[in-house]
């Protein structure tokens, strides 16, 4: 059955967005990512204009992350305190990133910077997570011991920062500066890349803030929820690019997928989750590398996307 999308001005077979929502929602519930880096290009492939695809995806993520946050909250996996500090940083970082993009666009090399940031960030994060989680799995096989404290030089410096506070749910003590700064950093990058930044925020929480993987997923979803509420409103208000009909089709699948993901995630070990996320991130990286190196079938396209 086909449904006409009033803002995208196109018609889609309803099974496609519902199925897409289900798949991406599953990843969202499993890994605590919004899935924008997967969903937006797939929607463009369905014939949705890129600006509408990105804006509608953020609307859909509001539903998926509400569903996911709710499921993880019931499981006791959301660190609200940490989430709020990350949000404060992320919000200001997003504003800086938007200004930076305006500057890059005026310079005329915005597309190059976006693509390179995408490939480098996804590549580095994917490779690092893959190596680290495989090593950690091997270590655990050798000896089921306590987690290495990770008190490197970097860790020691972090512990000396002022405004140390205890994050009860995550079981860690950090300076307030830490989540605000890294939230800000991810916010800047996310604005440049035009994504929610979940795939960057998750590694920051795991490797820098040293939070337990399951709490990371719940807290990341909580953070993404608020970011996407803001983005949905701004896109509707300024660009008129949110297609509510399409968002409904996507969220039918994604809200269910997020619940299934949250349940399924409990059955997987933290390292298994990290390996899977690393593989997905690397597959997307390879796809983008192919996109920019192979000659496109058409040399003209709609504006707005990247």
């Amino acid at each position: 059955m086909y449904l006409y999308l009033p803002v995208a001005l196109t018609s889609v077979n309803i099974l496609l967005p519902v199925g897409l929502g289900l798949g991406v929602g599953l990843l969202s519930g499993l890994f605590g990512v919004g899935g924008g880096f997967l969903m937006t290009p797939l929607l463009i492939m369905l014939g949705i204009p890129s600006t509408v695809a990105a804006a509608t995806d953020s609307n859909q993520i509001v539903a998926a992350s509400t569903s996911g946050t709710y499921a993880h909250w019931k499981l006791g996996n959301v660190d609200f305190k940490m989430g709020i500090y990350l949000l404060v940083g992320g919000f200001t970082g997003g504003m800086v990133g938007v200004q930076l993009m305006k500057f890059l666009k005026a310079m005329g090399n915005a597309d190059f910077v976006i693509k390179m940031t995408y490939i480098l960030m996804l590549g580095i994060v994917g490779i690092y997570m893959l190596i680290e989680s495989i090593q950690s799995m091997k270590k655990k096989e050798a000896a089921v011991s306590a987690k290495p404290a990770g008190q490197s030089k970097f860790g020691a410096i972090l512990q000396r920062l002022p405004m140390q506070t205890r994050f009860e749910k995550s079981g860690v003590t950090h300076s307030l500066i830490l989540p605000i700064f890294f939230g800000w950093f991810v916010g800047v990058l996310a604005a440049i890349m035009g994504v929610g930044g979940g795939f960057l925020m998750v590694p920051v929480m795991v490797y820098i803030l040293r939070m337990p993987m399951h709490v990371v997923v719940g807290t990341s979803l909580f953070q993404i929820l608020f970011t996407c509420i803001e983005v949905t409103f701004l896109q509707s208000y300024t660009n008129h690019t949110v297609d509510f009909t399409l968002a409904v089709l996507l969220l039918v699948g994604s809200t269910l997928g997020a619940q299934v993901g949250a349940v399924f995630g409990r059955k997987l070990k933290a390292d298994q989750l990290k390996v899977l996320l690393a593989i997905i991130v690397l597959v997307v990286t390879v796809k983008i590398v192919f996109d920019v190196t192979l000659e496109p079938s058409m040399l003209l396209g709609m504006g707005g996307g990247h």
């Binding site: 059955m1 086909y2 449904l3 006409y4 009033p6 803002v7 196109t10 018609s11 014939g47 609307n59 509001v62 539903a63 998926a64 509400t66 569903s67 996911g68 946050t69 709710y70 499921a71 019931k74 499981l75 006791g76 597309d111 190059f112 693509k115 509420i229 949905t232 409103f233 701004l234 896109q235 509707s236 208000y237 300024t238 008129h240 949110v242 297609d243 509510f244 009909t245 968002a247 409904v248 969220l251 039918v252 809200t255 997020a258 619940q259 949250a262 349940v263 409990r266 920019v292 190196t293 192979l294 000659e295 496109p296 058409m298 040399l299 003209l300 396209g301 709609m302 504006g303 990247h306």
Partner: protein
């Protein structure tokens, strides 16, 4: 007296000329009627069909053209950066071309008429290319290259089409009739479209007839599109609340996600 005589001669001349032109028209009879002059886009719309029928002389070739009004369009140009990376490198501005251009002729367009005649009526891609203005393009060959890319992009979106064949002819009440149909793409946005039928004889357009197709959104589609455009803030809040509600709703229903497991 003299002036009265002049007036009589002038009137007679006008009558003779008028009857002469009527005789030309009568010799090349052509009518056009689009079956679907009002296409409505509702929630289940997945494109439509536009058929054109009418009366024509038996010895003419026909060209049916559907166009939207000419508009300013911009598209992103992809190009190589650093020798191997493909990315957006600029913006191509296209003027004097319609967003939708569908053409169907009774036989191969190239054999139908000379280029100056097709350019006069903007029939066929080469004529449209000549009529269009593209910028930035350095020279004619670059214009041809980018116009070719533009046509490829438009054909891919189903908004451009140029083919031949698919006409059926018959007789009705001693008149020679024609019939043909286009698959109307769902990608064509709401608006007014002009159907023009050209009768071609001896390489020249001898007659033309027009009809209109109006595409309009109705019901929920019209309401949502209007709200998104004219009341963005309310639309945004409504979309967010609906998403929050759906997320919570599914969370509540889906008990397994909770501590029960």
């Amino acid at each position: 007296m003299n002036t009265t005589f002049k007036a009589i001669v002038l009137t007679a001349a006008v009558i003779v000329l008028a009857s002469f032109s009527m005789a030309i028209e009568a010799s090349a009879e052509l009518t056009a009627k689009a079956n679907h002059d009002h296409i409505t886009i509702d929630s289940f719309y997945h494109g439509s069909e536009v058929s054109v029928r009418g009366i024509c002389d038996p010895d003419v070739e026909l060209v049916v053209k559907i166009t939207s009004p000419e508009a300013h369009q911009t598209l992103k140009q992809k190009g190589k950066v650093g020798g191997f990376l493909w990315m957006n490198v600029g913006t191509l501005k296209i003027e004097n071309t319609p967003n939708l251009y569908m053409l169907r002729a009774t036989k191969d367009m190239g054999k139908l008429m000379a280029s100056d005649e097709s350019e006069k009526y903007i029939i066929g891609y080469p004529a449209l290319s000549k009529h269009a203005e593209l910028s930035p393009v350095a020279d004619g060959s670059e214009k041809d290259k980018w116009f070719g890319e533009y046509v490829k992009f438009k054909e891919n979106s189903k908004l451009f089409e140029s083919t031949d064949g698919g006409f059926t002819f018959g007789d009705s009440g001693g008149k020679h009739t024609y019939y043909m149909k286009f698959a109307w793409p769902y990608q064509a946005p709401p608006g007014d479209y002009l159907v023009t039928v050209y009768a071609v004889k001896g390489g020249k357009v001898v007659e033309q007839a027009t009809s209109k197709v109006q595409v309009e959104q109705v019901g929920v589609v019209k309401y949502l599109a209007g709200m998104a455009k004219n009341n963005g803030a309310l639309y945004g809040i409504f979309s967010i609340l609906a998403a929050l509600g759906a997320g919570f709703g599914v969370g509540l229903v889906f008990k397994k996600g909770g501590g029960a497991h």
